[in-house]
Symmetry: C2
Subunit: 316 residues, 2 copies
C-alpha cells in the first residue's frame, strides 16, 4: 500500500458513518454505527474511534496507509484548533475533539462543519470531479452551501463562507423575515421550508390550486403539481428557481465558478427546476461570466459528507 488513504467521518445525532477514500476521492467502503448521543461526549468519541477501526483494522497495511481522519459536524467549531464549541443535536460543549481523537487513533485528525464538508465531497469526488472552481448548494430544510476555489474549500474569516441561504435576494417589498433575523434571504423562498410556506399561503388565500386537496404539503407535492400544470404551484417553483438563479448571478461575478452543484431534497425535482434556474442565471449574468458555466445535480447523496471529511487533508 504505497498510496495514501483517508478516512471520513459523518458525525450525526443518530448515526456515525465512516468511509475510506483514496487520494482520488473514490469512496472504497463504508461502515455505520449508532452515535449513542444520550450516553455523552466520551462514549460518542469512543464510538467514532471504534467504527474507524472497524472500517480499517489497525495493524493492516491499509491502516498504515491512512494519512488522516476527517470529521464533519453540525455545530459551531473552532476549526484551526479542532474544538467543538457547541452543537444543537450533540452534547459537545468546548470539546477539543481533534486532540482527543488524535490520541485515540494515533492519526492526524481534522474537523469541519457538515455543510462545508458535504460541499467539498461533491466538489472533490462527486459532481465537481475534475473542476477546480465549484459552488455547492444544499436545498433542504434550509439552504446551505460551500465554495471550492482552486480545488480548495474556502472557510472565510469567521467560517461563514458559503452560507448561501442568507444572501438577501428578495426585493424589500416582497421580503419576509428569515430565521437569521434578516429580510429576504434566499432560504425564505428556495428551501423546502420556503416552498411549503408559499404553497400553504396560496391555499390559505384561496388560490385555485390542487394543493388545496393535499393534507400534508411537502416540496415534492408542489413540484408534482407544477409539472401537472397547476398554475399556482408553477408560480411557486418559478419564484424558488428565480432567486436561486439570481444568487448564482451574484456569485458568478464574485468568485466566477465553473460549476454550480445542487443537492438536497429540493434538487430532486430535476431538470424541471434546473432548466428554470439556468434560464434566470444566463439572463442575469454578464455573458463572459456565464459562458461554459454549468448547473448540475449533486451525485453523492448522503455520502457527500463522508467523502468531503476524508478530503479535508488534501483540499482544505
Amino acid at each position: 500500500m504505497s498510496q495514501a488513504l483517508y478516512v471520513g467521518v459523518d458525525l450525526g445525532g443518530t448515526a456515525i458513518k465512516v468511509g475510506l477514500c483514496n487520494a482520488a476521492g473514490d469512496l472504497l467502503r463504508l461502515f455505520e454505527g449508532p452515535t449513542q448521543t444520550e450516553q455523552g461526549t466520551e462514549t460518542i468519541l469512543n464510538n467514532i474511534a471504534a467504527y474507524v477501526k472497524e472500517l480499517v483494522p489497525p495493524g493492516t497495511p491499509e491502516w498504515e496507509a491512512v494519512a488522516g481522519v476527517g470529521i464533519g459536524i453540525a455545530g459551531f467549531l473552532d476549526i484551526p484548533n479542532g474544538i467543538i464549541q457547541f452543537s444543537a443535536n450533540l452534547p459537545f460543549r468546548d470539546v477539543p475533539a481533534k486532540q482527543i481523537m488524535e490520541e485515540k487513533l494515533g492519526k492526524p485528525v481534522k474537523i469541519n462543519n457538515d455543510a462545508n464538508v458535504a460541499a467539498l465531497g461533491e466538489a472533490w469526488g462527486g459532481a465537481g470531479r475534475g473542476v477546480d472552481n465549484c459552488v455547492c448548494y444544499t436545498l433542504g430544510t434550509g439552504v446551505g452551501g460551500g465554495i471550492i476555489l482552486n480545488g480548495r474549500l474556502i472557510e472565510g474569516f469567521s467560517g461563514m463562507a458559503g452560507e448561501l441561504g442568507h444572501m438577501s435576494v428578495v426585493p424589500d417589498l416582497e421580503a419576509i423575515q428569515c430565521g437569521c433575523g434578516q429580510m429576504g434571504c434566499l432560504e425564505t423562498v428556495s428551501s423546502a421550508t420556503g416552498i411549503i410556506r408559499m404553497a400553504k399561503d396560496a391555499v390559505e388565500r384561496g388560490d385555485k390550486t390542487s394543493l388545496a386537496y393535499v393534507e400534508n404539503i411537502m416540496a415534492k407535492e408542489v413540484f408534482d403539481a407544477a409539472k401537472d400544470g397547476d398554475e399556482a404551484a408553477q408560480r411557486i417553483v418559478s419564484r424558488a428557481a428565480y432567486y436561486l438563479g439570481k444568487s448564482m448571478a451574484a456569485i458568478a461575478v464574485v468568485v466566477n465558478p465553473q460549476r454550480f452543484i445542487l443537492g438536497g431534497g429540493v434538487s430532486k425535482a430535476g431538470d424541471y427546476l434546473f432548466d428554470q434556474i439556468r434560464e434566470v442565471f444566463v439572463k442575469l449574468t454578464p455573458e463572459v461570466a456565464s459562458r461554459g458555466v454549468d448547473i448540475v445535480a449533486a451525485e453523492l447523496g448522503n455520502n457527500a459528507g463522508i467523502v468531503g471529511a476524508a478530503g479535508l487533508f488534501l483540499r482544505a
Copy 2:
C-alpha cells in the same frame, strides 16, 4: 542580498511605471517612463525591459535577487499562457508577452489584469496588510474589484472573479441598463459615472438642488453638496452607498472576507460615504458574518498596481 526581490510593472497607455518590492510587499523604489504606444508593440516591450533595467541595473546583487517581474495590463489576457489577446488602449493583439519579456529580461514573468493586480497590491502591501481575506472595490468610471482569499488572488473560471461592478443589486423596477447589457448592475449607481448620471437626472427633472448651478458636475461636487446639506445630493449618495453595502452583504455570505477595501476617486469622499456603507452592510448581513469585518479606504493610490504586479509571484 539573500532575500528575494520582485519587480512590478504597471503598463498604461501613456506611461510605464515600474517598482521594486521586497517579499513583505514594501515598495522600495520607483521608475517611470513613456509607453510610446504609437510606436507599436515591439517598442513598448523594449521600453518595459529598459525601465526595469533602469530600476534595477543588471549585474548588481539586487538584480541577482530579483525572483520575477509581474506586469499588470488593462485588457483581455490568457493569464496562464501569458498572452495579451486584446487591449483597448494598447496595440497588442495576441502577443505572447510573458515569453517575449522572459527572453528580454532573463527572469520569470507573469501577467495579469490591472484590476486584479491593484486589488492584490492593496491586499498584500496596502490596506489589507496582514489580513488573509480581503475584497477590494475600485470606484471610478466603473466599479472594479478583486478578491484575495487565504492571501491569494482569486481568478475564477474565466478570469471574471471580482467583477463586482456587474453584480445586479438594483431592484428591477428601479434598474437601468449597464454598459455590460445587464440591468441594475452596481456600476450603474455606485461608480462616478452613476453618481454623475443621478445628479444630472435630478437637475433635469427640476429637483431643488445646488447642483443645478454647477456647470460640470463630477462625483466630488455631488459629495460636497451632500455634505453641505443639499437633500437631493444626499439622496444620491445614500443610494450609491446603499447598493455598495448591499453588494458587500452578499459577498459576506459567499466568501466571508475580514476586510473590504475601497479605492478609486469615489472613495475619496471618506467617512461621509464609508459610514453610510457600514450602516447598510451591518443591517443586511447576518451578525456572525459582519462581526469584526471592517470597511476601509485603500492606501496605495496609483501605486497599488505596481505592488500587486510584484506580488503575483507570491500571491497568485
